[in-house]
Amino acid sequence: MFIPFFYSLRRAGIPVSPTSFLRLQKALAMGLVNCVDDFYTAARAILVKSERYFDLYDRVFARHFKSIEFEVPDPWEWSELIRTMLESWLRDPGGLASALGISEEELGKIPPDELIDRFLKLLEEQTAEHRGGARWIGTRGTSPFGHSGYHPGGMRIGGISRGRSAVKVAMDRRYRDYSQERPLTTSQMGEALKRLRNMVPAGPKDRVNIQETIYQTMKKGGEIEIVLDRSLRDRLKVILAIDNGGWSMDPYVEVVQTLFNYARAQFKDLKTLFFHNTIYDYLWEDPPRRDKPYPVEELARLDRETRFIIVGDASMAPYELMATDGSIHIEERSGKPSYERLRFIAENFPHSVWINPIPAQDWPYTTTIGLIREIFPMFELTLEGLEKAVAHLMADS
C-alpha cells in the first residue's frame, strides 16, 4: 500500500532495498506504527541507511505525504516545497504536463516564471479544497491517505499531533548539513579520512614466530614461551602534492591541511610536496616553496607502487600548462611544458589521482581542468569524491 512511496524514494536516488521495504511492511503488520509520526520515524530507520540521505528522505516524505496535512504552510515552506517538487517533476515532463492539463509540447514553450505561476495556482486551488485523488500533484491519485477514510493497518490519519507533525519535521530539513553533495568542511574531515585508513590495514598479532619461540623456550629451560608477531602487511607509501598558492585555492587550504596532518600517521611513508597551480621542474618540500626544491626527475627513482595524490583546483591560464616557459620561476627553464611534467608523473605512478575542491559541475568551464583530466583521474574534494578517489587508488593494487 505504500508502494508509491517506495518508488518515490528509489527515484530520488535513495538506495532502498525491497527487503527493507518488506521489513517495513512487517512493522506495520505488527502494529508498531500507529500514526504518521510513527511512520515517518520507523520508515526512515528501516529504509534509509545513511544520514546522507536523511535530507532527501525528508523531502520525499514531505512531498509524498503532504496531502494529509490541511494546514497552510508558511511562505518559506511553500517556496521550498515548490522548488523541490518542480525539480523532481521536471525530470518527468510528461507527468508535469498532464498535471497542469497541457500537452508536453506546450510545456516546453512556457517560460519558467509562468510555469511556477501555473504550478502555484494549481497548488493553491488544492489547498483551498482538497479533492483527494488524482488532482493532487505529486501523488497522482495514489495517495494512501485519501479523505475517503481509508484506514490501512490501523493507521490513524486524524492522529497527527498539531505541534510537530511528521511532515513539518520533514520540511524542517534538519539534515540538510549531512547531505552528500555539500563540499567538505573541516568538521567532516576526520570522518572522511577514515576512508584513507582503509588503505593500510595493520595486521593483528596472530602469527607464531617459530624461531623466536624455540629460542625463548630453550632459554627458559623448556618453559614454553610463545612469541607472536604481526602478520606482515605492507603499508602504503603515499605522496601528497598540494597546490598551496594563489587566491583560488585559499578557501580550501585549511581543509586540505587538516587532511594532510591527519593522514600523516596513516602511512608507512608520506611525503608532502607543494606546488603552485601546476608542476614544472620542481616540487617543494617547504610550504613557502622557497628553500627545498624537489626535482620532478627524482620521482622516477621512487617505488612505482607509491600512491600519488594531487590536490589542487587545476585552474590557471592555459599557457601555464602548455607553454614551454610557463613557469613564473625564472630558473625553471628546462624547455618542458608543465603538461609533459604531469604526464611524466602519471606514467611513473600508475596509482595517481587529482583531487579538486571545485565542484565537478563547474569543471567543463575551465580549459585547464579538462586538459589535466586527460592525464589524471579527477575527483571532487567531497566525502563522495574522496571515497571514489581512495577506491581508485586501491584498485588492482
Binding site: L32, A45, S50, K194, N198, P204, K205, L383
Partner: protein, 283 residues
Amino acid sequence: MDGETQTGRFTGASKYVLDEELAKIVNVSIALEMPLLLKGEPGTGKTMLGHAIAEALGMRLIVLNVKSSMKLVDTLYQYDTLTRLNDSRFGDSRRDVSNIEEYIKMGKIGQAFVSEDRVVLLIDEIDKADTDFQDDMLDILDQMEFDIIEIDKTIRAKKRPVIIITSNAKKDLSDPFLGRCNFHHIAFPDPEMMRRIVDVHFPNVAGDLLQSAVETFYRLREIRGVEKKPSTRELINWIRALRGDPDFHVKDLAKGDIPYLGVLFKKSSDYRVARNGVARFRP
C-alpha cells in the same frame, strides 16, 4: 531462540535524556529483532544508549568494544590452548585435560548467545574493524548461531539479544551490513536538549550557571580550526570543574573569562586554537 519473549517498551533511563524519535526507533528495532546501528559524532550518547536500554528494561548488558586488531572468532569463543598445555604438563588443576570443552571460553557474542536471559549486546565502534569482520559478524547475528570447530559443536542463541551497534564514521560500512540493520544518526544535541542532559547529571545546578555554561560551550564549539570539538562528556566535566572552584563567578563567562579550557579541549593544538579564539569573546 525464543521470539515470543515479552520485552517492555523502552522509555528512557535515569541518566539518559531520550528524544521521542530515538525511543520509537529503539522500540521498532526491538520488536523487529533487528540490530540497531547508531551513528553520530562522539558525545551524542550512542554508547550511553546501550546502557540506558539495559537499565530501563532490566536486562544484563554485554559490551563488545571492537578493536582494529580483533578477529571475529575472538568475539565468539577462545580455545585456551596455553592453559591446556600447562595443565597437561603440571597436572595440578581440577580441569580434565582430555576434555577440550573445559578450555573453551566464550567471547562477548558467545556470552550473549548462551545467556539464559535476554541481554542487551552493545557492539561499540564497529567501524574500527575491517569490512570482512563486520559482514561476517552480521552473518552470525543474523543466524544467531556459530560453530566451535575444536569440539564440533554449534552454539545457538537461547534468547535473541537486543543488539545495538555504534559507529563514529560517516560511511564505513558495507551495503550488506547496512541492509541487515536499522539505522539512526544521532544529531549533536541542540542547546535546549543539552540543558536537559546537564540537568539530569546535576539536578541542583544553578539556573544561571547552566544557562551561561551551555551558551559558552556552544560558542566554543564554533571556534574554527578545532579538530576535536568538545562534546557532552567534556561539558559535564567542565561544569563539574566550575562548580568545584570557589573563585569562579558565572558572570566571568559572559565577560569572556573562561577557566579550565583544558577540560574542554584536550589536544594541545586545539587548546591553543581555542585560547586564541576565546580572546575574541571579550567585549
